[in-house]
Symmetry: C2
DNA sequence: CGAACACTTGACAGCCCTCAACGTGAGTGG
DNA sequence: CCACTCACGTTGAGGGCTGTCAAGTGTTCG
């Protein structure tokens, strides 16, 4: 049996935060609740539906490839890495998921998780039973629409790094993308911690770890950024944006 | 104004094929209708909803990047290529869409099509207004579930070619994938026509057109396949599958 | 028949991977 | 407090895959 947080029975449930109208302000569904006209009764239904899971610690798995799919989850705190191991034993990182982002959407089709998900630091999750949220979505059009949009967005995101970009472009796009997503959640856009190892970045960008090191060093030598271990400061955001522009497309 | 089939008013509507219970046997939604327990009344609703568009001819656009999104479409016949033009003017092919497959799903999030879609040969489409099919999906859980699965599947597909695979692996995965999809629609798995140019394949696999030529030639010299212009025969499917295995993953 | 286009073939170079060695910081036990 | 260990990260040298450039061939269409 996989030692994951989802299939296990003894998941830790925290029910102490938020009331019916203001719970999960950092949640991926809060915007849907507030803006798409979800009424008080629907909000209560979603509140009852959610299970708060965590804290998970670095190295803990949320789910593993092949686990039966029964729930999606919104990251509330920390970073989750999704990845697969290919036939040659090499790791491919599919994505890093920050607070407010949803994992598990790519499992709907096959009814099994097609990848692994692991916590990179201390992670808190909101778990949504997919059968239950689907039923709720039929009664709450705003929620259905939000799910459609989340799924649609992931299609675009998955295609972003598929191009044959240079190592510099990939690294710039990664850093700028990270910065934008952090900023959207209220974190600093110019100074932040890399929660993942160089090897993880390399496996995400499809580069060798050595190349990641070299590019970061060159970016620093060129004054584009300052990097100290996993501490990062974007100095010349404009130049990084310019490098990343063909990938991020806006 | 874009000269596309969707936004235009004068789309050709064909209502001559199929009755209420058997229409669109090649349609991407037929499985949903039949297997997910869609009742007769729901089927009628879907029948009323669909608009048959076409025939489009090679070079005709279904939609263009930036067009306002209002509908998804199932390919009924022919091949549709989706692509974007990057800041440097280079074309990136996002995918080739065969009969039974759905285009436009990646447009839901931004409410505008994020890419272009063009017919590679004579194409017939089933157009579904997205607002309307969404409403119908709230009444027909099987349809909602089918839409979720279609979206989820595209996330996985978009990630397939993202790895740093060799030219041989990419080409093998492309051919095997094409063969499987054609076979699933009742076409021959071992002999088929490439409906796209070498350049299109190259822009899809992120290779140079010259590399596509060279790999195809080498595959032919090694007895893996026979290729004559756009006519293709897979001779050693097992070896191609082996090459593609790490990418296709099953 | 000529032009445009798609495709093929060849020579060469560059980017990045591989392999190897070294440096560094955190945690551990003495 | 210090030596040790180990994972992580950096730096250097060399080579292979594939892109680029160029020229040539074949086909379609006006």
């Amino acid at each position: 049996m996989s030692d994951t947080a989802f299939p296990r029975v003894d998941k830790r449930v925290l029910a102490d935060d938020g009331d019916a109208l203001h719970f999960c302000s950092t949640c991926a569904f809060s915007q849907a609740c507030l803006s798409q006209g979800m009424d008080k009764s629907a909000l209560m239904d979603l509140h009852v539906l959610v299970e708060h899971v965590g804290p998970l610690h670095a190295g803990d798995h949320v789910f593993r490839e092949g686990d039966p799919f029964d729930a999606i989850a919104a990251v509330r705190a920390g970073t989750v890495k999704t990845y697969v191991i290919d036939a040659d034993g090499h790791e491919h990182v599919l994505g890093f998921h920050l607070p407010g982002e949803v994992i598990g959407l790519n499992a709907i089709d096959e009814a099994h998780y097609p990848c692994n998900a692991v916590a990179l630091d201390t992670v808190m999750l909101c778990r949504f039973s997919f059968p239950k949220i689907s039923v709720l979505a039929t009664r709450v059009p705003g929620l259905q629409q939000h799910l459609f949009r989340l799924l649609s967005r992931d299609i675009g995101n998955a295609a972003l790094l598929a191009g044959d970009w240079s190592a510099d472009q990939r690294m710039a796009a990664f850093l700028v993308g990270l910065s934008r997503r952090l900023a959207a959640r209220g974190f600093s856009a110019d100074r932040f911690q890399l929660t993942m190892a160089r090897t993880d970045i390399a496996n995400y960008l499809r580069l060798a770890p050595e190349t990641v090191s070299r590019v970061l060093k060159r970016f620093q030598d060129d004054g584009l950024l300052k990097v100290d271990r996993r501490e990062l400061e974007l100095v010349r955001r404009d130049q990084l944006e310019a490098l990343a522009a063909p990938i991020l497309r806006h």
